[in-house]
């Protein structure tokens, strides 16, 4: 379907598509097999200016909005959501700076991210704080001109690969959610290390590690925004980034549909291509319905978020949930259409199905998303 993209949006799509077709698809099986971080591909993307898409123009980016990053990430997701995740996690890492950071902080960090010279990462999750972010144990205590961080973050995307980390820590436990703050920690800061890479079911091209803080001392001005506003920044960051996850789902669904469709034309059983059988056609039709519906929803949600930055949560949660549930279903069905071949690692759909699962889990599980949507509905209907 034609979504009437602007000339600039079409340029972004064309570049991301070329990177996906020429750099990601030929390499994705190896990256997955070797759990290899796609540094070269990310460098190619940086050269093509894609890292600048969501960074404001005054800091060396293109000043694109949520919709522009959605268009970029969708193409990457068609090739490999592991690579797409490694790319998108950069912005999760610097959105807190864009949303709440000081001018000096933006000047210091954003230009290097816009050119892909430095990568970003976002540290929120801990062993006892996932869906319930109030369980955070990591602390930050002001000691003279320095903050001292202690604690361990878990499952952090781009851990060990990024140079700029946005890290959430408790600065005043007595104040509950208003006692959390968010800081910039840089690679090489004293007392900061990353754990070994986790072994994962899917998105193996992306790096996932612990972030370990042992009396990690950082300058006072690394606090993003004011003390105690960490949760507000985190919520805004996730609202802004979730459509990106949704668009990874759209891209992944499209990639799985493409594989299944091509296969169904070429695979012959009972003397005909299996595409000729209604049972297969209907499966493919349902996959196409899911992908297109999710795409239309994600695009609309992204445009809404761009236009209404104070009213992001529901649109963000709705599109994330729908598109990622769709991706799980469509990739599973792609394996089914391809039968035994689909289950084999020589074909890409088994990886796609393994990869899809994370989309329903990270950046807020789809159950938590439904809570968010439910709470918003509760508010809306209370007014009536």
């Amino acid at each position: 379907m034609d979504y009437f993209l602007s000339e600039e949006q079409q340029m972004i799509v064309d570049i991301a598509r070329q990177i996906t077709d020429e750099r990601i698809i030929p390499n994705r099986a190896e990256l997955d097999k070797n759990h290899e971080f796609p540094r070269q591909i990310l460098n190619d993307m940086a050269k093509a200016d894609l890292f600048g898409v969501p960074i404001p123009e005054e800091y060396g980016g293109f000043g694109g909005g949520c919709f522009d990053i959605v268009l970029t990430v969708e193409q990457l997701g068609r090739g490999c959501i592991g690579v797409g995740t490694a790319f998108a996690a950069n912005f999760l890492g610097v959105y807190p700076i864009i949303i709440s950071g000081s001018e000096e902080m933006k000047q210091k960090y954003l230009p290097d991210v816009a050119t892909g010279k430095k990568f970003g990462a976002f540290g929120l999750t801990e062993a006892n704080a996932g869906s319930d972010a109030s369980g955070i144990q990591t602390t930050a205590v002001l000691d003279g001109d320095e903050w001292v961080l202690n604690g361990t973050k878990q499952w952090i995307t781009n851990g060990g690969e990024a140079q700029i980390y946005s890290v959430v820590a408790i600065t005043d436990r007595s104040r509950g959610p208003r006692g959390a703050s968010i800081f910039v920690v840089e690679e090489g800061d004293p007392g900061f290390t990353c754990g070994p890479k986790e072994k994962k079911m899917g998105i193996r091209a992306s790096s996932t590690t612990e972030l370990i803080f042992k009396d990690c001392r950082i300058p006072k001005d690394r606090l993003i925004g004011r003390e105690g506003t960490g949760f507000i920044t985190v919520m805004k960051t996730l609202d802004l980034s979730r459509p990106g996850i949704a668009s990874l789902g759209v891209g992944l669904g499209q990639g799985a549909l493409d594989e299944a469709g091509k296969y169904a034309k070429q695979r012959k059983q009972f003397g005909k291509p299996i595409m000729a059988f209604q049972a297969v056609q209907h499966m493919l039709a349902d996959m196409a319905i899911g992908v297109e519906a999710a795409r239309a929803l994600v695009y609309s949600a992204a445009k809404h978020i761009q236009a209404h930055p104070k009213d992001m949560s529901k649109a963000s949660a709705i599109c994330k949930t729908f598109a990622t549930d769709m991706a799980m279903k469509v990739t599973t069905d792609a394996v089914q259409v391809m039968g035994g071949y689909g289950y084999m690692s020589e074909y890409p759909v088994e990886k796609m199905m393994r990869d899809a699962k994370i989309l329903q889990i990270y950046e807020g599980t789809n159950q938590i998303q439904r809570n968010v949507i439910g709470q918003e509905l509760n508010k809306e209907y209370s007014k009536a």
Partner: protein
């Protein structure tokens, strides 16, 4: 370092048609791409510029529709693009083409280095690069797979051979043709694409470059193409599967009707 890259728009290999009257390739209305070898030449020029400074000018002789390829060249890093275009150039062989390019390059002016693809994937002659250098009276090195060293006065290059490579040094001005091994062309950048959209395309006609009309286009081309035909379509193929014995049996079954 001022580098001129000669690029050519060629029909996408998937979509080749011939003009039945002139026996030359039909170009209008056919999906066109930048000759893949030329993409590598352009990439090498841009890399040399990025390291040593200077300017990259991309030049093509072709119909007005080649403008699209020239804009792609800008989005991949060319600073200036020149379209050498005139109805009178139509039907040129490599002799007339190298003459036309010589005149165009003399009009464009000073250069240190001219880079070309090894050959174009349509005509596959590999003659225009060497022909152009000969007409300009400058040295040329073909099939360059690597630039080892670039100085203010020249290049040290590896020339691909059947059994390895030669190391060749040459002083500017010089012309080199490149093979695909030399680099991996970049994906156009967003800044490049935005620049390309607005870029001015310099157009030079036969009169602009002061070409002798008897030396250009079909009249200036001593090569007369007598016949051109696509390779015959491949016959039906089949892959036999199963054990060796089963395959032999299937093969015999297939051959028996022809006895």
């Amino acid at each position: 370092m001022k580098i001129i890259v000669c690029i050519k728009q060629v029909p996408d290999a998937k979509d080749v048609r011939l003009d039945p009257v002139t026996n030359t390739l039909a170009r209008e209305g056919v999906q066109s791409i930048m000759n893949p070898y030329d993409q590598h030449a352009l990439e090498e020029a841009v890399r040399l510029k990025e390291v040593h400074g200077g300017e990259v000018v991309a030049v093509t002789m072709g119909p007005p529709q080649a403008e699209e390829m020239l804009r792609l060249a800008i989005s991949c890093g060319a600073d200036t693009v020149v379209l050498v275009s005139d109805r009178a150039f139509a039907g040129a062989d490599t002799w007339a083409t190298s003459y036309t390019l010589e005149k165009a390059l003399k009009k464009i002016g000073d250069y240190d280095l001219i880079l070309c693809g090894k050959q174009a994937i349509d005509g596959d002659t590999a003659q225009v690069g060497p022909g152009l250098a000969t007409r300009l009276g400058i040295p040329f090195v073909t099939c360059v797979q690597k630039v080892r060293e670039a100085t203010a006065t020249g290049l040290v290059m590896e020339r691909m051979m059947d059994d390895g490579y030669d190391v060749v040094a040459a002083d500017f001005p010089l012309l080199a043709t490149v093979v695909k091994d030399i680099n991996e062309p970049r994906v156009p950048s967003l800044k490049g694409k935005m620049k390309a959209k607005k870029a001015e395309i310099i157009t030079l006609s036969a009169a602009d470059i002061g070409a002798d009309t008897t030396c250009i286009g079909l009249p200036g081309s001593p090569t007369k193409v007598v016949d051109v035909f696509p390779p015959p379509a491949r016959g039906e193929r089949a892959v036999l599967e199963g054990s060796i014995d089963e395959q032999i049996e299937q093969l015999v079954d297939k051959l028996v009707p022809y006895l």
